[in-house]
Symmetry: C2
Subunit: 488 residues, 2 copies
Amino acid sequence: MAEATPIRPLSVDQVQAWDHEADVVIAGYGIAGVSAAIEAARAGADVLVLERTSGWGGAAALAGGFIYLGGGTPLQQALGFEDSPENMKAFMMAALGPGADEEKITDYCNGSVEHYNWLVDNGVPFKESFYGQPGWETPYDDGLMYSGGENAAPFNTVATPAPRGHVPQMTGKRTGEKGGGYMLMKPLVETAEELGVRHEYDMRVQRLIVDGNQVVGIVAKHYGKELAIRARTGVVLATGSFAYNKEMVQAFAPQLIGKPGASIEEHDGKSIQMAQAIGADLAHMDATEVAFFGDPQLMARGILVNARGQRYVNEDTYPGRIGQETLLRNGNQAYLVIDEAAYEEGCAADSSTPFFRFQPKWVAETVEELESDMGLPAGTLQATVEVYNRHAANGEDPVLGKKAEWCKPIGSPVAALDLRNFTAGFTLGGLRTTINSEVLHVSGEPIPGLFAAGRCTSGVCAGGYASGTSLGDGSFYGRRAGISAAKG
Amino acid sequence: MAEATPIRPLSVDQVQAWDHEADVVIAGYGIAGVSAAIEAARAGADVLVLERTSGWGGAAALAGGFIYLGGGTPLQQALGFEDSPENMKAFMMAALGPGADEEKITDYCNGSVEHYNWLVDNGVPFKESFYGQPGWETPYDDGLMYSGGENAAPFNTVATPAPRGHVPQMTGKRTGEKGGGYMLMKPLVETAEELGVRHEYDMRVQRLIVDGNQVVGIVAKHYGKELAIRARTGVVLATGSFAYNKEMVQAFAPQLIGKPGASIEEHDGKSIQMAQAIGADLAHMDATEVAFFGDPQLMARGILVNARGQRYVNEDTYPGRIGQETLLRNGNQAYLVIDEAAYEEGCAADSSTPFFRFQPKWVAETVEELESDMGLPAGTLQATVEVYNRHAANGEDPVLGKKAEWCKPIGSPVAALDLRNFTAGFTLGGLRTTINSEVLHVSGEPIPGLFAAGRCTSGVCAGGYASGTSLGDGSFYGRRAGISAAKG
């Protein structure tokens, strides 16, 4: 094969021979890739998936497995929760912006019930069980949970709260290692293989092959050798985020420098760059999911304060929102102030993240002593606790809207957990795509032959995040990419 | 000329005849364009500037005129301020990040004294006079001022404070209409014209003309007709920010939706897109300057609180930092709480922005009444004022580090100004360039024949901002662009 600078496209007239051929060639065998593969195969295409590692799964297989679905899914209905596409959209537009893609969110909400059924039809199991405790995930095999702060301030007044975190049923889960995401991927991969989808592992995609403006293939490295792979009708990019590309993080999402999380090292942004090299447009490159290493059962029972001793988020909301507020708007500085009784109660409660139950760093008889021990300016934490307690005594939190059930005055002895610099995350920005998963050129026109889905694209999240939106839009728009790529 | 989709590059073999030719063709006659023109002409190039409007100036001519310079400029020295490139760099890295381009900032600081001399040699006048009052600008014709919070917390402990806002001398200035920026542009344009730089007005650049990977010209519309302009050695893009491109703002900097400011409508991002179309890389597309419509003389004398009644920024810092903290980290919600004596004192003080001295919306005898009138949760503002007053009585602000001279307990009667949703700004992200103003391809290599400077590039600012950095890096890297483009 002719020499070409990595990332820059290779002109088809430089290709001497094709090493592999298929109608649809998909880069990445995570959630977006497998969803694209199934739909492309069902549309009659010969499908080849190229995967960089030695097996399917991607970040998806390691994820907790939330898939953000709603609008009245059979699971929501069976468990007694009312929802509609309009209600779902109202929440998503409020929680995932500013700048969220309204066309995409509308489309996603309208198609959500169908997408749930598609997952079930392809073998993804959901248990008819709702988990209502504060938590990053359910510690059990429940199928439904709040996963974006739908039932917490400020969103509980924007839309009727409905849980939309749908979790594939999984026994013997190990958080962060083998969770619902595995039970999402496994049946989908089995379905794909039953449909005749082929795969090639240990293939690192390098650059696109173009015929004028048309994408007609992709170059991949296989054990150091560059191979030319022909895509007769379309290439689908589905290789994940750029959380592990240090230079891109520095240039676009510097708040995540040194703290990639809930991602995998293969998320190197290469697909984004290969497409940029042929004029693909980008969106929301600064957007980031932010995990926060606090246990929700403890957080809901205490107050989170920043480096000035001020509360800044309702502690009973989606912990990923707490993460964003902490990292992006409070300098990554957080302390959890909690009294002994609440700490013990929280530690005794259900949790999927007991490893986030750290020992308090400071314990004192009074808030004044605690404040002094923590090195906070005199009066600051005292003022915060006084205001909190004054209203909590009435079961109210007019400052941040924590729900009445969690509003209890902070008593004595009182402790503080040091949660400073306790965040990590992955990037949400990427290629700009249509609702048919066409990659948009900066001119505003689709690039012929090029499709993308998953975290190498900008999906339903712009500023905010809800757990399940990545597996959600990855699978939803992965399917669309497969359908579009099969048509060519 | 052959048809081509707007923004997409035009291949040189599609050009039937050149309508204009020059060695160096510069798009945009603002600060970056004129600086490029001068240096290219001095390097012996035949230079043509294409300007969309009917005259030179761009956003620069409307600006207050701060140029961010330091490291020991003759003006700093004459006025008794010590500075060094290392000290300047320490401040800039701390204040303009996260993610600031260290190579660019180092280079900028090292070249700053020479750049000051270059401006003076080209006729830009600076008066040996320092203005030390809080203010967006000097209301007079002083040549030097703090313009980035160098002498305020938290940066006053990171580097030795030195004022670096250098303002061209201007009599009869009218803030926002004709200020120091005009007196920066005028002598530079005169210098350029003396050097034989040609210009063509009413020319809207449309797309780049390429010969393979090499940029060899640009297409511009002149009263509806598309013209092909040949650049024998280089094209320089210098057309400003994308603050007025709604779609780009939505996709990259949605916090600015509906509030472009301190910019001009011509800032449509077109240069960024034309370069993206040939694979140019981007950086820090979310970064934004944020102006805040508060008078610094009033702000320093009161306390700014957010919608929770909490302080969030030292009120005596650079007002652009107050703007960023308000819009980006406090939901664009701000109130200025100030007692009557301080309000009157502030209104009597010097200001370049007396039109930002709004009447209080609420006035009360006690903070408790004020808090209630403002609709803040009971106890919140009282707690904030109590803590503030407790330390202000000792001339201290351990919470946010306001300087002792501004720390006075808030007395009675007390008022609040409603400063909610009082921000606007322009974008700071754009093309990724080297310190020689070469536009980088996403592959990491410079694009042959293409150079850029000013606000269509990502310059010295990533997250933060200091007044003068736009005219500063626009002129500094404009010069480099001219030098590089003349070499080809």
